[in-house]
Symmetry: C2
Subunit: 220 residues, 2 copies
């Protein structure tokens, strides 16, 4: 973070750091922090182990750097929504965003999940505070929507939890999903899943589903 600002992206160091982070993301997602071997990260990045330790002081240092990268994904459109916005549009887009992250960055999602399940031992107080205040602000907006009868009465906390839960699930439990569907989810399946989920949640909140999120299938 500190160096990256002024550092070019095409120096040998930057390239290697990037390769290592990418390899680490796969390994940590698959084996957790304790179960991951520095050697395996090195192998995957096609570098000697010593190099990994050279660029990142330690296994923990690498993990923390990765985690910081991952947390930066957790921002989006919804962050700036106000009462005046249409809840149907805002929520649908929020869900679509989250689903898109699950599709394109499943390992990031898994690492975050592992971190939380294990008691969030590496999430900084700063992140937690930031997250808590984000939550508070979003809850207020949703409550205002409810007051203005734009949304049926429900606890905004649970609504948000349920959205996160469902979206994350498509990344974290991808193996199970693949097993049960008989095939992995491709981009189209994700679109279907997103539209299904948007419909479920929006209708569940008493909202109409925006046209853009209605699947037009031959199947009636």
């Amino acid at each position: 973070m500190k160096q990256k600002e002024y550092q070019k992206d095409d120096t040998i160091g930057a390239i290697n750091r990037h390769k290592i982070l990418a390899a680490a993301e796969v390994e940590f997602a698959l084996h957790g922090f304790a179960g991951t071997r520095v050697q395996h990260i090195a192998d995957r990045a096609q570098l000697p182990k010593t190099n990994v330790l050279y660029y990142f002081k330690s296994k923990e240092g690498l993990y923390l750097a990765l985690l910081e990268d991952i947390l930066s994904l957790w921002n989006g459109e919804f962050d700036h929504a106000t009462v005046d916005d249409d809840p149907a549009i805002v929520l649908a887009n929020y869900i679509a965003d989250k689903m898109e992250i699950s599709r394109t960055r499943p390992d990031a999602s898994k690492i975050f999940a592992l971190e939380i399940i294990n008691g969030a031992p590496n999430l900084s107080g700063f992140f937690k505070d930031q997250h808590a205040s984000w939550m508070k602000a979003r809850v207020q907006v949703i409550e205002q929507w409810i007051e203005h009868d734009k949304l049926s009465a429900l606890d905004p906390h649970y609504l948000l939890f349920n959205i996160w839960a469902t979206c994350q699930h498509y990344a974290d439990f991808a193996i199970q999903i693949t097993e049960l569907r008989g095939k992995p989810m491709d981009e189209n399946d994700f679109k279907d899943a997103t539209n299904n989920l948007v419909a479920l949640i929006l209708k569940g909140c008493g909202l109409a589903v925006p046209d853009t999120f209605i699947t037009t299938k031959t199947k009636n």
Copy 2:
């Protein structure tokens, strides 16, 4: 499994095995398989480490025994539902069951989640097959409900995934939830969350919410 059938529950061996399993559940949930120390399990069970290895041949043996216990939780009411049942009742009860497991056995839920996230390396083919055929049967019932216009059209797979996702979330992400709500969820909070979730999903499916799942609050 093999011995338990004829073994009494009050022998010294059975008691210790039970203590060890309980301790292991906490430790594995908190640190994952690789991150868990046999010594810590022993400490928590208040037994010497050698005892743990005496009762269970190895760390992996203990983990597998625990996992088997946990998987037995994954059965419930919905297993026997048919077209003739009321989908609103069946689904609401299914959600309530799952939420109850999240409340009472959060560590079991976490271990299962860790297992899936890490690629399900220890889930037997038997379990997977069983699970897949369970899924197929449930999907059929839901499709029949849809054909009979008891439910709005949606993909049954995604509906089930979304239910699992939300229910599991209250166990797996309990730390985050506590952080964001400012306090841990007690039994009453779980009841609220359950009713919120039932309302969201049932309304999302075009179903009326059974009376038993409507929270009567002073808050309008």
